[in-house]
Amino acid sequence: MALLELRNVSKIYHLGGEEIRALDDVSLDLDQGEFVSIIGPSGSGKSTLMHILGCLDSPTLGNVVLAGTDIAKASARELARVRNRTIGFVFQFFNLLPKLNVLQNVELPMIYAGIGSRERRERAEKALEMVELSHRLKNRPNQLSGGQQQRVAIARALVNNPKIILADEPTGNLDTHTGELILALFRRLAAEGRTVILVTHNPEIAAVTPRRIEIRNGKIAHQVDAKLAGLDRVSKAPTEGQPS
């Protein structure tokens, strides 16, 4: 069974009487340890899909099954719990809290998980060691470079040991070299058995992942999975799929 299953998921907004289908009947399976990229231009529904994958939002229609439980109709509180325990977020603008130091930033998800202060500190230090930032524990985010900040954010995403890492344009604010280092880090995480979802509009970055999902007009337009038997499996979307 897949770790995360989307079944006929639609997200519908009503803007001034007009119905907008940001996601239109999307079905998707993500397995444990997969390294996936979701690409698409802005307005394609890519962000909406990411929000639903990240349990930041609930779909209007359809089911989202995460590790065997349907969370499509979960309450805000339950979603918060899922986000806290099961998903690690990495953002384009890092989103570190500017008033907390590196260590405190990494401890934050554990505070919401109700973990005691000693264990919090141990685990935060370990996570920071993994991203090679053990020497900057007491620094404020604005004293770090962009790449360092993103590594702090990754440490923060990892610290509650989530099954899924959801990264939204993680290299969008970094130079090419730093971006590559970050992507290598993600690849390593996937190899360790975490599901890493990379959301980007940049096909070059998407190219590093074995599996690529392209979203257009709220539908999956195109899927490539290099892992499948040597040949690139190309699946056309049932209605108006467009070749990339």
Binding site: L56, D57, A80, R83, F91, N95, L108, Y112, R156
Partner: protein, 452 residues
């Protein structure tokens, strides 16, 4: 959510916007300072009033007062006898529930002089020895009147230290104690020998100050003269009045100043005052009824008298204190309200600035409750900081006030007032934080993340 962390983040938030927080806190600081300061001043007033009341004879003193005859006895008004010694003797024999009965006969327009020095006593009255117990006097030097003085209408007097100060000099200014026993002074031109002098009456606080001064004098061995500050008479009105008392035997007052008659040539036997003390406060009503019965006989049924108990005085004082408290409380309440609105405003601004931070926290797993608690804690931290600053400010205010207007009633800061002020501003913080906290807790994580 960890409370310690919430407080820490709150403090950091305050520190990050020092000036803004300072301005915001002004209302709370003022509110707390005025609450504590006001209650300190009122407490001082209360103490002063209580001391004054004791100086005037204590709570169990009842004054038999003259009163216009009631309307239905209007036609008998010119037959009203007034309060005379007849009443006193009748009460002594007919009202066993009374403990002390002290008649007073005032010397009209008394002027005391010695050489070229003059004084006009607050009270220059003829009395019986009962007056000592009635008005809680202590004879420190010499003696009080005895039966012989009364019988023979001796020209003797007992004075308060205020009279001594005027006629012989103030020891605080002269630098040595003056005890004018045996000296002769003139009361309205008639010679009287001083046989006794009362102790110097002063408020607790003045006594302390005096003791301190004496100690300092003793150690430095130099004579320091009294510095007078402001317009305060020595230690409050009640004590000043009590110190400016001059007593002569009742019979002497009668023989020397009244018997020869006033301008009309008719001697006036009426007393200026009759004071009573009852045996026990519990039997006050009963005792007064008894006294009334006796007096109605001696006054031939004409009700030209009334009783004024200190209870009504106490009631008066309590009423004044209550009013002062109320107005002080209202002022402080308004300041705190304004402070609360300031805090609410700043918290709203703060969460608007931090929409992305809040969104991030929510994405990381913060629940609405977590965010709510965080904002409330920040708001309370802000208001409690204000409260602490307010407590410090109240110390300054009280010092300033007692420097500007030194009265007999030093403001006293009570811990109750401080606790109430802190608790009150804490709850102001909770209330002020409520709306912003709800707003923050309801932020959708996505909207928060999109917000630029």
């Amino acid at each position: 959510m960890n409370l310690f962390n919430a407080i820490l983040i709150g403090l950091k938030e305050v520190w990050a916007h020092k000036f803004r927080s300072l301005l915001t806190l002004f209302g709370v600081v003022l509110g707390v300072a005025s609450l504590v300061g006001m209650s300190a001043i009122i407490k001082g007033m209360e103490n002063g009033m209580r001391e004054s009341m004791i100086a005037m004879g204590g709570a169990d003193k009842v004054i038999l007062q003259r009163q216009a005859v009631p309307a239905y006895q209007e036609h008998l008004a010119d037959q009203a006898p007034g309060r005379t010694l007849v009443d006193v003797i009748a009460l002594k024999q007919g009202a066993p529930l009374l403990r002390v009965i002290s008649p007073e006969m005032a010397v009209p327009d008394a002027m005391v002089s010695r050489g070229d020095k003059r004084a006009s006593p607050e009270e220059c009255v003829g009395v019986w020895p009962e007056v000592l117990e009635m008005n809680l006097h202590t004879v420190e030097h010499g003696r009080f009147f005895n039966a012989l003085d009364e019988e023979k209408a001796h020209a003797v007097c007992v004075i308060g230290t205020g009279i001594r100060d005027s006629l012989f000099g103030d020891p605080d200014e002269v630098g040595r104690e003056i005890i004018p026993l045996g000296e002769t002074i003139q009361i309205n031109g008639q010679p009287f020998v001083i046989v006794g002098m009362f102790t110097q009456y002063a408020s607790e606080q003045d006594l302390k100050a005096r003791a301190l001064r004496n100690q300092a004098n003793a150690s430095t061995n130099k004579v320091e003269t009294k510095k007078s500050r402001g317009w305060g008479r020595k230690g409050g009105w009640a004590f000043w009045r009590k110190n400016n008392t001059l007593y002569i035997p009742l019979n002497t007052a009668w023989v020397r100043f009244r018997m020869a008659g006033d301008l009309d040539g008719i001697p006036d036997p009426r007393l200026s005052d009759i004071d009573l003390k009852v045996k026990s406060m519990e039997q006050m009503e009963l005792a007064l009824q008894q006294a009334k019965n006796v007096l109605l006989v001696t006054h031939r049924g004409i009700e030209d008298f009334t009783f004024q108990t200190q209870e009504s005085q106490v009631e008066n004082i309590n009423k004044q204190i209550k009013n002062a408290r109320l107005s002080g409380g209202i002022i402080a309440g308004i300041s705190l309200l304004v402070g609360g609105i300031g805090i609410m405003n700043i918290m709203l601004a703060s969460i608007n600035e931090r929409v992305r931070e809040i969104g991030t926290c929510k994405a990381l797993g913060a629940t609405g409750v977590d965010v709510f608690v965080q904002i409330i804690v920040e708001s309370v931290v802000l208001s409690l900081l204000g409260a602490i600053a307010g407590l410090a400010a109240s110390l300054l205010i009280v010092d300033l006030l007692s420097f500007i207007a030194p009265t007999g009633n030093t403001p006293i800061i009570t811990w109750e007032a401080q606790a109430i002020a802190v608790a009150f501003s804490g709850s102001v913080g909770v209330f002020a934080g409520f709306l912003p906290a709800i707003k923050a807790a309801r932020l959708e994580p996505i909207q928060a993340l999109r917000y630029e």
